[in-house]
Symmetry: C2
């Protein structure tokens, strides 16, 4: 006789697990309950639906062969029963039933289970400030909200918008509003940078510059203190500590947290921050109850800590693994490295592993290599610069993370995903130096950006490369008094260097071309700290080594050079 499997939550992990279960155990009775009427949708596609790239919300909940994934689809094609508009109220672990209420009829019942799977997902964090209940204030909690937002914009009701929260969803929504609809959009983030904790300052600055270039007004280090409205209860703006921003639409995107109330109330082990605890077979503290997706706590493979990884991709993978185990097999989910990727207008920003700041906070002997290579052979038409930062531990030589910022093609994805595969396996710098990247000029360089980043890290560990922090250099460019003895040694082509020498003065910006350094090094000052400057940092490194070899050790390299500081928004001569 078949078992009864009950699954609570019908967006990503739940439907995936249900379908897999019916393939593995056709005789079993698999039921999914969800409080919503719209299920099995690509939540990550919401910004692209709002901006119009995806014209109909049905596309987000359709298969690649254009069938809408509704209750009937799951019944007909998958043999899975889906009960929509059905809220789970409580789990009776002794009786092995789930108490549910059908939201339209109000009818309550108890659904029995042999095995229960919790795929309850995550919910947006509510900011405890006044006005969040005003008309026109939204979270991106589900597809209904997205439909409502898009309808307001399409009806011409939105001229100005404010997005509160500079995480991935906030940035994607800011792009969606600005790019197609021309809504005047401001973005407020209370931390000093965008994507806090996920990427380092340099990358956040590059992202911010990209948003500013596209007319998104970005206010970092600024808290939204209140949402304000008119007498009709309609939103009119957002107050921060420093200003009031007008808005017909406010999107609250200050993060999400695991939806684990049911689990906690049922007495399952739940982390203090809300993640449901599971073993590597995705079993909770009750062996008959599994959990998967945004609602669980998973091990981080770099830090070893429990972490929150709310990604639709992980939810799908976990759904399959939970199903394998529920069906009686053995499948393991060992943890995450935290890969993320995002489009922001013409750019792609991505990261895997941990950032430099996180690595320092975690107590690693952390350092990082910053580089600005071409995304394919530099002589191939359309080759463009991307920026990479590899975070590593000097003692163990383990690579802890990689961040990339480049054009909105797939080139950053190539490097981030390869790095993720290696980092998850504890790879060291040498592994990244030799990792075999397929080479052909239309797709890569003979020395791939990922190999190059590792070579720089290797040179740093060997003491061959001494760098200056980019932030510190930019601060000095704003105020030369910060570092009295610094002088830039610009080794680029004289025509590139000339406007810089002109703007900053020869006392602060010295030019001597790369290929003349070996011959003319004696012209260089020995009582100053020379910041060696080129376009990408490679030549600067070579020059530092050459100067060291003639006993002139008074230099630091600005890794990534012009390519990085320009993208970070430095005020440079054109």
């Amino acid at each position: 006789m078949g078992k009864k499997i009950l699954i609570i939550g019908g967006v990503a992990a739940g439907p995936k697990a249900a379908c897999r279960l019916k393939r593995l155990q056709p005789g079993w009775d698999v039921t999914v309950v969800d409080q919503d009427n719209l299920i099995s949708y690509g939540g990550c596609g919401i910004p692209y639906y709002v901006c119009g790239d995806v014209s109909d919300e049905k596309e987000l909940r359709s298969t690649s062969f254009h069938m809408v994934r509704d209750e009937k689809f799951f019944a007909d094609a998958k043999g899975v029963t889906v009960l929509t508009r059905t809220r789970a109220l409580g789990i009776d672990r002794r009786a092995k039933t789930v108490h549910v209420r059908q939201l339209d009829s109000g009818k309550e019942s108890r659904l029995p289970y042999d095995k229960l799977l919790l795929t309850t997902g995550s919910s947006p964090v509510d900011l405890p400030i006044p006005g969040t209940d005003l008309d026109g204030v939204f979270t991106i909690a589900n597809l209904h909200k997205a439909i409502d937002i898009k309808e307001r914009i399409a009806r011409g009701q939105v001229a100005k918008a404010v997005v509160v929260g500079g995480g991935a969803i906030g940035v994607e929504m800011a792009e969606a509003l600005t790019d197609l609809w021309g809504v005047e959009t401001a973005l407020v983030e209370y931390m000093p940078q965008l994507l806090p904790r996920v990427i380092d300052r340099e990358f956040a600055a590059m992202l911010k510059t990209q948003l500013l270039d596209k007319d998104v007004r970005v206010y970092t280090g600024e808290s939204a203190t209140a949402i304000v409205g008119d007498d009709n209860g309609r939103v009119t703006g957002v107050k921060t500590g420093k200003r009031t921003l007008d808005a017909d639409l406010v999107i609250m995107a200050v993060g999400v947290r695991p939806r684990s109330e049911l689990a906690r109330e049922a007495g399952l082990a739940v982390a203090p921050w809300g993640g449901i605890k599971v073993n590597n077979r995705l079993q909770t503290s009750d062996p008959d109850i599994y959990a998967a997706g945004d609602c669980v706590a998973v091990p981080h493979l770099v830090t070893g800590r429990e972490t929150f990884a709310p990604f639709g991709s992980l939810a799908n993978r976990q759904g399959r693994i939970a199903a394998d185990n529920i069906a009686g097999g053995v499948s393991l989910f060992n943890g995450v490295v935290g890969s993320f990727i995002m489009k922001a207008f013409d750019s792609c920003i991505a990261a895997t592993g941990i950032s430099y700041d996180t690595a320092v906070a975690e107590g690693f002997d952390a350092d990082c290599s910053l580089s600005a290579p071409f995304d394919r052979a530099h002589f191939f038409p359309g080759a463009a610069v991307a920026v990479y930062q590899m975070v590593f531990d000097r003692k163990t030589r383990k690579v802890l993370g990689l961040q990339g910022f480049g054009p909105a093609n797939d080139s950053v994805s190539v490097r981030i995903n390869t790095a993720a595969a290696l980092i998850a396996r504890g790879a060291v710098i040498e592994d990244f130096i030799t990792v075999e990247m397929a080479y052909s000029p239309p797709f890569s360089s003979a020395i791939d950006p990922i190999n190059a980043a590792a070579c720089i890290a290797d040179n740093m560990c060997a003491g061959l490369l001494r760098r200056v922090d980019t932030d510190r250099f930019l601060a000095w460019m704003d105020d030369f008094s910060r570092e009295q003895d610094w002088v830039v040694l610009d080794i680029r082509h004289p025509q590139e260097a000339a406007p810089y020498v002109g703007k900053f003065g020869p006392d602060r910006w010295l030019a001597l071309p790369y290929n003349e350094i070996r011959r003319r090094h004696q012209e260089l000052p020995d009582d100053r700290t020379m910041i060696i400057f080129c376009n990408a940092g490679n030549r600067s490194f070579e020059v530092q080594v050459a100067l060291d070899q003639v006993g002139r050790k008074n230099s630091l390299v600005l890794c990534g050079g012009f390519n990085v500081i320009r993208r970070m928004g430095a005020d440079l001569p054109v």
Copy 2:
């Protein structure tokens, strides 16, 4: 006192090693000799120079900051001495000298060394047929040949061309001639498929179809038996066993082999096929002589055999490693997985590890999963189909290889490079199921193509998925008498299936939509073998499982479905 390092060969591994050596050991004397006057160039860029994407050959031998890498550049910027037009005639290992001749002056001398590095590269294989010495017959041996070819085309002297050899260089040259210059081009390959040994038949067929679509005439399974010319010694055509192809230009691209004569004559250990034997520090059988780049034999990490891997990218990596070891450090080169990637008109074709045919030949318990997923979220604008084949061992579950064919963007590169990193580390199917691919709709699907390929492999190992060989299916479509009891079960939308039923007849092509199978399976024949057919193969798998579950086990899945056979050139209704 500094050591004397002599390097023979100045294209890729040699210059890389020389520059690295000068950074590690500034006091050492590093000299590179090369018989050519053009050095340090991107040989893989030659097809893009010939087609005009790269306008000047100097770009192929310039840095990313537009400095030509000539003797003066190496002296000024790198502190490396380069002797061009200098041929190495022999190595005296006892005296530790290399006998060289300056080709312009004819002057001979002996250059002493403490450590010698052989980076002699590879040379084109000469086909032993008459006429290869005619005017207008070229190999892609060096940049001079490329310059000559381009000049002839630019002068309007080439209306028709024949490329002999369907490897990567042959295909790239065929594209170069056809695409920009409109030269009527034919490609002759004596093996039954393009890129023999590198990719499997299905992928070779997709590549061939792409070339035919772009008006390259492709003759596989046909040997060039003679090159023919006119009375002036000019080439006029190529004879094959079956026809004579007119040509003003013939490009011989039948492969390359290691240039190891010097090493062999000096008594160093050399593999029978010509690769110089080295240990994992790239040291030859003489501890004072190292070798790197195309001329060496390296271990294949999947087969464990010695292999030939002539890639500019590996040459660069090996150059750095050889330099580290020569300088007194320890750096290891452990082997290759054989990654390759290529653009062919609007397509990208790539592979890593070994093909299915190779896996069978090597004695693996080999099988392969074929899939045709979208390269990003299917609802994202511009999403396109790519085709992947994962080769695996059923017993150990090790993944042995991955092949991809998709649009000419970087999406195939993402999956091939991630796979290469995993395969080099002996990863099994489970590792590919869970490998964490960064997800966002503009860049990937929630279930990434690489995860999906592994899930299919997993289902095959579990006996959940039984497939039919694509070739066998296509042969049947040409001649139904080959398999008397077969009938296609087309589960696509009725509108998609109708023209097929019309063309092939309901006795051979049966239509029943995917979502009606569970309800209507009793209408299906149980005395025939049903080949389940959809667009990508996913639905077919589900239907097979569902039919198995109701006891109808008379089905096979056509993995990859319509998307694959269409790309392979099947004659299908539109």
